[in-house]
Symmetry: C3
Subunit: 139 residues, 3 copies
């Protein structure tokens, strides 16, 4: 049993851009040579998050609408009043969704459902170059 | 230190049906013979999720109401427009709640609070036969 | 590879009090002598949760407002009708945010972003003495 820590890089457009990172996670597991274990995907950021979804345009836009409804961008945020960077809504959305996702794998296969992909959601209000941590613990 | 991967099966009624799976998780840990470690519970599905709650009828119906309020079923969803399966709200709710839960255990005991149970929430719009992954990493 | 389980204690004021526990998590990792692995932070409670945020007053009050908006305290809750403890909203908020957070570390450093702190959120309606589990799996 051992630990392997990797980083991957992504370019995102911000504004709840949702990027399918499943293939990169699958590649990291194959590269690790572990048969079974967990992969922890972590975003070292306070304006982005991780979850899974069926990666098709409809479901993605429905999820984006939820965030627009419950945490709208065009509202007064105390964060913006203090820092004037206009991404107060990004911080709230990211804290709600969470920065970490743990997915088990077995026989070298990620145990996702057929219609389930891992997405990185960038809530920031501008394009970003992002780094994500993929850490495998397995054997 | 090693990894044990198990699957369990559940019958659910859909519509945010909340099933207490604490006993199955406890059984998996006892069966593993691990003294301490983590159990990752994962739903390989994009219309269901996992969390903890005090498993009593009031709290369950209050949580269900929240999802009815912020992600109502009877609304236009782009997912439904494309796929006509009527579970657009299920996808959004599942992505928000998340497909994974990690719980530590020690001295063979799950470290839950006294009034805290692990629930599987099936957001789909119909009854389902579900498979969940329970993966223990421990020693 | 091995497992170390620690508990830490906090005094909170309730009402979505948000406590920065990053320093305690960093200390637990240094004390473990592990070079790399994961720390799982878990609250054995059904009225509190964990996430990360930029720990500054504006972002904290913006996140608190979200919970006040989507799960207001002054509303009828079935949990309160049954138990008369007035914390029905606390249960719903806690189930939504989730009781667990997993963060990777490498070269003895938590892999958080520069503007990202780990917070414990106490949603209960009164001051509490809380116990949190910090469990490290690493090598």
């Amino acid at each position: 049993m051992t630990v392997i820590t990797k980083t991957i890089h992504l370019n995102t457009r911000g504004s709840a851009d949702m990027v399918d990172i499943t293939d990169q996670v699958v590649a990291a597991i194959l590269e690790s040579n572990f048969q079974s274990g967990i992969v922890t995907i972590f975003t070292p950021s306070s304006t982005s998050g991780l979850t899974t979804i069926e990666y098709e345009a409809g479901a993605l836009s429905d999820l984006k609408r939820l965030f627009d409804e419950i945490v709208p961008q065009n509202k007064v945020y105390a964060h913006n009043e203090a820092w004037h960077d206009g991404n107060g809504h990004s911080h709230v959305r990211a804290a709600l969704l969470g920065p970490a996702l743990t997915v088990p794998f077995s026989e070298r296969r990620l145990l996702l459902g057929t219609w389930q992909q891992i997405i990185f959601v960038d809530f920031d209000n501008r394009s970003r170059r992002r780094e994500l941590i993929l850490q495998m613990i397995g054997e």
